[in-house]
């Protein structure tokens, strides 16, 4: 029996191959994700190992506020005198203190800061005198002395600087000119993940980073024979309690675990998309195997009459699935390695260089990929296998015997509707029931979407015919539109085919057809426009064909529906976010210019001095800057903001208590809070509010006003107080942005005046109101791209699903195609017929997907505060066109096969 199955697989090579693709892509995503994230994780581990390699004990200030999103500078610095105490400890062989900053930019020869695409601009003191503690090596030049700097090879390559050049360094305040004494490398890497490194001697660094007499960290080396643990013990005794002492290993693994948390979130994110791809793939498998089973009815029946048991039939279908599943999973696994390598190359190209490391392939990667691939295939094959089992022996002798309806048949529609209802139940409770926790919410959302997809896919078979009828003319006109658009190309192709002597048909030129119709109409004849569409008969046949086995069409369409729904969801979300954000910017921001960081993703902000410089520009009527920082409020780490200048002139907010002028006069203790925050903490006017800074200092503020953030997000965090208070209590205060109003509004002259004032601030730029709004939204685009690319895998799989369905259908209808060719349809008409069926299928999937996506999007948007629903009409139109293109492309291979059928052989085909 197994031999028969295997031989069957080989004879149906193309079909088996296409079926396998559905699984290959999903598994490829799984294994690619694991390899990529494992490798990144490993890279970071070894990076931190390298950093703390020679460190036996690491001493830092103790932070009361932790912020997972920024690295350096969050722990408070401490007095330089600690270093002497450390050195005095018995078992310390050597110790070195240092300071660092994550906002130390290198100014390129063009006068602008070196852009890092979001990675930090690291600056720190280097102490080459203790080799154990020095993690960088000199490539050229010498170590930095007073007022000198070394930069990493990556930055040197980008800027073209060489040792001996005078270069600009920007921390807070104006650019400092320094001599570049040398170029450094970090281990084997030119740079770390795209960050720029600038190294100084301690005194220069302290002065640059405003840490005179202070240190951020001390690294100590133990005397031979003393364990790091012992050294740490001794240091803890000797040092004040507000310092944290850890071994180098602990410090490294703490850093590792911080990053690996983020990486594992990234991993889950990618795996979710792999899961979606496999889910779509399982639709394709179910459909393919079902069609095969239907086509092999006679064969199964014959086997039954020859004494094959039901179990053997079941086995034969399952074995086929297992073989496909195993082969596909292995291919997917290996392709995944390639995918990971490709992505890492891409990262490197984008400047996010990872520390050099071999690809990490954990046994878990192999096991999970193979098991998931095979199990998904097996599960997907159960339904078709059960169908095969129901084939009665009598089907062998009776022409056109149909399978008896299954036990579930009667419950199909109500059952699938119940699934949809359950799905929506889960979705809604995930969205709207409070206090479920992230995990449970995600599970509910995922399961809800899954149930809805399955339910809709099953019930879709019932509505395929009317939907097909509705989308068929859309498909016709979309194809006309597209073929008109690519007409010049088709024409060239035609010329080429003439040139090589293999003449193709002349491409239809629709505008010409239309012109003809107009001329004829003008002449008084009134031919119906639709009568000009050639091969309406073919389209009608295709439409009839698409309704012949609604299950097939429905499940091919459903596979595409899933991808389409998610793509639509993303589009709806982003349109809503962007729309709301634009609205918010418009309503909050009454200034006409903004000062923002050049690196839009910069977390370090721009020097406060920049706004001071701009304030002096003639014509500036009002100016106000916003700083942000992290603090502990009501026991929780939260973002806080601070404002200076005249906020009332550039901001407009809705107020529950207070007004814009409240912002102008916050004084040392005044704070404004959002209404939601006020409500959840029962705050009223004059309520006391304690804000604890990262250094542990408590600020006792009073509520001076309560505002309502507009939809689209606020310019301010939940708690906002005066910049004066902020600057006195937070480390490295910097502006996130500055808003200003200039006389005469936005104009060339005003822009020029601002640019001139910003000369000394290479990381600050002046943007008009519109540029400012657009720039905020621009950061969404890469995220959108990533989401679309990840979903493209699913769409690709459903594309393959349509191809398989059509190929199998062409097999099945061979004799019929022969008849049609005999009674006069041309090869071109044959292709058109297959193509139209494909376009109809794709459009059904597209239509259902877009509809579902809008529903999902609307639900989700209604859950997100500050965001109102916006329908991205343009995108949705594009998706519909894309569905048509998918349909056209999916038909290419099957249509060619159909057209090339030998008429006589086809007529004699059994």
């Amino acid at each position: 029996m197994i031999r028969i199955t295997l031989r069957g697989l080989l004879t149906r090579k193309l079909r088996s191959f296409l079926t396998a693709i559905a699984i290959v892509l999903g598994v490829c995503m799984i294994s690619g994700t694991y390899v990529l994230t494992d490798t990144i994780n490993h890279s970071f581990d070894s990076l931190y190992q390298q950093i703390y390699k020679g460190t036996d004990a690491n001493i830092t200030g103790r932070s009361v506020v932790s912020n997972d999103y920024s690295g350096t500078g969050i722990t408070p610095s401490f007095s330089e005198s600690v270093l002497a105490k450390v050195r005095a400890v018995k078992d310390v062989k050597a110790a070195s203190g240092g300071v660092g900053s994550a906002s130390c930019s290198i100014v390129g020869k063009n006068g602008k800061v070196v852009s890092t695409g979001g990675a930090p601009n690291l600056g720190y003191s280097i102490d080459p005198s203790i080799p154990e503690l020095n993690t960088v090596t000199l490539v050229s030049g010498s170590w930095p002395k007073k007022n000198e700097v070394v930069i990493d090879q990556g930055a040197a390559n980008k800027t073209g600087y060489m040792a001996g050049d005078m270069i600009g360094i920007l921390v807070n305040g104006p650019v400092r000119k320094m001599r570049l004494s040398g170029i450094i490398k970090f281990g084997e890497s030119n740079s770390i993940l795209g960050a720029t490194l600038a190294g100084f001697d301690l005194a220069t660094a302290q002065q640059l980073f405003d840490r005179q007499g202070k240190l951020d960290a001390i690294q100590a080396v133990a005397k031979p024979g003393v364990s790091p643990e012992k050294l740490v013990q001794e240091l803890r005794h000797a040092l004040p309690k507000d310092l944290t002492v850890r071994t180098g290993q602990q410090e490294a693994s703490k850093a590792s675990s911080d990053t690996s948390k983020q990486i594992s979130a990234f991993q889950y994110f990618l795996l979710a998309f792999a899961g979606i791809a496999l889910f779509v793939g399982s639709f394709v498998i179910i459909n393919t195997l079902s069609i095969t089973v239907a086509q092999r009815t006679r064969e199964f029946a014959t086997l039954r009459t020859l004494g094959g048991s039901r179990l053997q039939i079941l086995g034969s279908v399952m074995v086929e699935a297992i073989v496909i599943g195993i082969a596909a999973s292995i291919c997917g696994l290996v392709l995944g390695f390639g995918l990971a390598i490709g992505l890492m190359r891409l990262f490197e190209k984008l400047g996010l260089e990872l520390p050099k490391n071999a690809m990490v392939i954990e046994p878990r990667t192999v096991i999970v990929s193979l098991v998931v691939g095979v199990v998904v295939t097996l599960i997907a094959s159960i339904w078709p296998a059960l169908r095969a089992v129901r084939v009665p022996p009598i089907a062998a002798v009776r022409e056109g015997a149909v399978l008896p309806p299954s036990f579930f048949h009667a419950y199909r529609t109500p059952g699938s509707l119940a699934l949809v209802a359950m799905g929506f139940g889960a979705l809604l409770s995930g969205l709207f029931v409070h206090g479920l926790g992230t995990g449970l919410t995600l599970v509910l959302l995922g399961a809800g979407a899954l149930l809805i997809f399955i339910g809709v896919a099953i019930v879709a078979a019932r509505v395929v015919k009317p939907i097909a009828r509705a989308v068929s003319p859309i498909g016709t006109f979309a194809v006309i539109l597209l073929s008109t658009l690519i007409w010049p190309f088709s024409f060239l192709l035609w010329l080429f085919s003439l040139a090589i002597g293999r003449r193709k048909e002349f491409p239809d030129f629709w505008p010409f057809v239309l012109l003809l119709w107009l001329i004829r109409s003008a002449r008084g004849k009134k031919p119906r426009l639709s009568s000009l569409i050639p091969d309406r008969a073919m389209n009608r046949l295709a439409l009839a064909n698409s309704g012949r086995s609604p299950e097939r069409t429905a499940s091919s369409a459903a596979a595409l529906m899933i991808g389409c729904a998610l793509v639509t969801l993303v589009a709806v979300l982003s349109a809503s976010l962007i729309g709301s954000f634009k609205g918010a910017v418009d309503s909050i921001f009454t200034g006409n210019y903004a000062l923002t960081p050049v690196n839009s993703s910069s977390t370090t902000g721009i020097p406060i001095a920049s706004s001071k410089a701009v304030a002096k520009v003639p014509g500036v009527e009002a100016i106000s800057s916003v700083r942000t920082g992290f603090a502990r409020v009501f026991g929780k780490n939260s973002m806080v903001t601070a404002v200076d200048g005249q906020p009332s002139k550039v901001f407009r907010l809705k107020w529950k208590t207070g007004s814009e002028s409240t912002l102008d006069s916050l004084g040392a203790t005044g704070a404004v809070v959002s209404d939601a925050f006020a409500k959840s903490h029962h705050l009223n006017l004059q309520s006391p509010l304690k804000v604890v800074t990262p250094a542990g200092k408590s600020l006792n503020l009073k509520v001076a006003g309560i505002f309502k953030p507009p939809t689209g997000g606020s310019a301010f965090a939940d708690v906002t107080f005066s910049a004066k208070t902020f600057d006195a209590n937070f480390q490295d205060p910097a502006n996130m942005y500055t808003l200003l109003n200039m006389r005469g509004g936005t104009s060339e002259a005003n822009s020029r005046a601002l640019d001139k004032a910003l000369k000394g601030f290479p990381n600050a730029q002046a943007q008009t109101r519109k540029e400012f709004a657009d720039a905020q939204i621009a950061s969404l685009n890469p995220i959108l791209m990533v989401l679309y690319v990840l979903l493209a895998f699913s769409v690709l799989i459903s594309f393959v699903g349509i191809v398989v369905m059509l190929v199998l259908t062409v097999y099945e209808r061979t004799r019929e195609l022969g008849m049609l060719r005999a009674i006069g349809i041309t090869q071109r008409q044959t292709r058109r017929m297959i193509r139209h069926e494909s376009v109809i299928t794709a459009l059904i999937g597209g239509a259902m997907g877009i509809a579902l996506g809008i529903v999902f999007g609307a639900l989700l948007v209604s859950r997100i505060p500050f965001v109102s629903f916006t329908l991205p009409v343009g995108e949705l139109f594009l998706f519909a066109i894309l569905a048509v293109i998918i349909g056209i492309a999916a038909a290419v291979l099957p249509a060619r096969r159909a057209a090339r059928l030998n008429v006589l052989e086809a007529l004699q085909y059994e």
Binding site: G400, R536, A537, N545, R815, E816, G824, L904
Partner: protein, 258 residues
Amino acid sequence: MSTDFSKQPGSATASSNGVAVHAVDLYRCYGEGDTAVNALRGVSLDVLTGHLTAVMGPSGSGKSTLMHILAGLDKPTSGSVEIDGTEITTLDDTALTRLRRKHVGFIFQFFNLLPMLTARENIVLPLEIAGEKVDPDWFNEVVTKVRLSKRLTHRPAELSGGQQQRVAIARALITRPTVLFADEPTGNLDSRTGGEILDLLHDSVETLGQTIVMVTHDARVATIADRVLFLGDGEIVKELPETTPEEIQKAIQEIGRK
């Protein structure tokens, strides 16, 4: 309608005969070398307009091959075929398809109807494919002739074998083809139904002036055919004009003995 096999001599159309299909020296060889089969070895014939030409012969004698080549579904290894004065052996696929559309009708042994279309839709399919309008008078005449007026909204699965074949005949007649080819149209039907089909084909020749070339094993064809050709081993071995079933039986036995 009673089964009427009697020949009506001197029918109106038979007198003004032109040549619908003109075939000269047809050879058809399948395969190469040792395994080569010569299905046709030098067949020449003229199919006269308004005639029912029957082709008979033992299985494997090349009847289907001849039909396919005459109809432009297959190309001869050598020789020429003209339909309505057009040489078809040199046409490319598209031109040939268009020629079939206009000049050739088919009736197959296995009906070959489209299951998802109604009888009416199946009948007008060739016109639809060609993008032509349905002439309602002609449609009614054809449908009445094949006695399907009451079955037009049925799908093939709801029709008997005989009815299905009558739909196929109507589908072939609807375009008024220059010549209609039928390869064992009764081969898949019981004797009585088969008789009815033969009767219907004969009627089409007599009253509609349809030219028909038909392969059959049914000796009753003798009474309706204007001419019976006997094929043996790829050659025309005998030709009987206006013959009787008895003569045909004799001829078949003769050829069989060779």
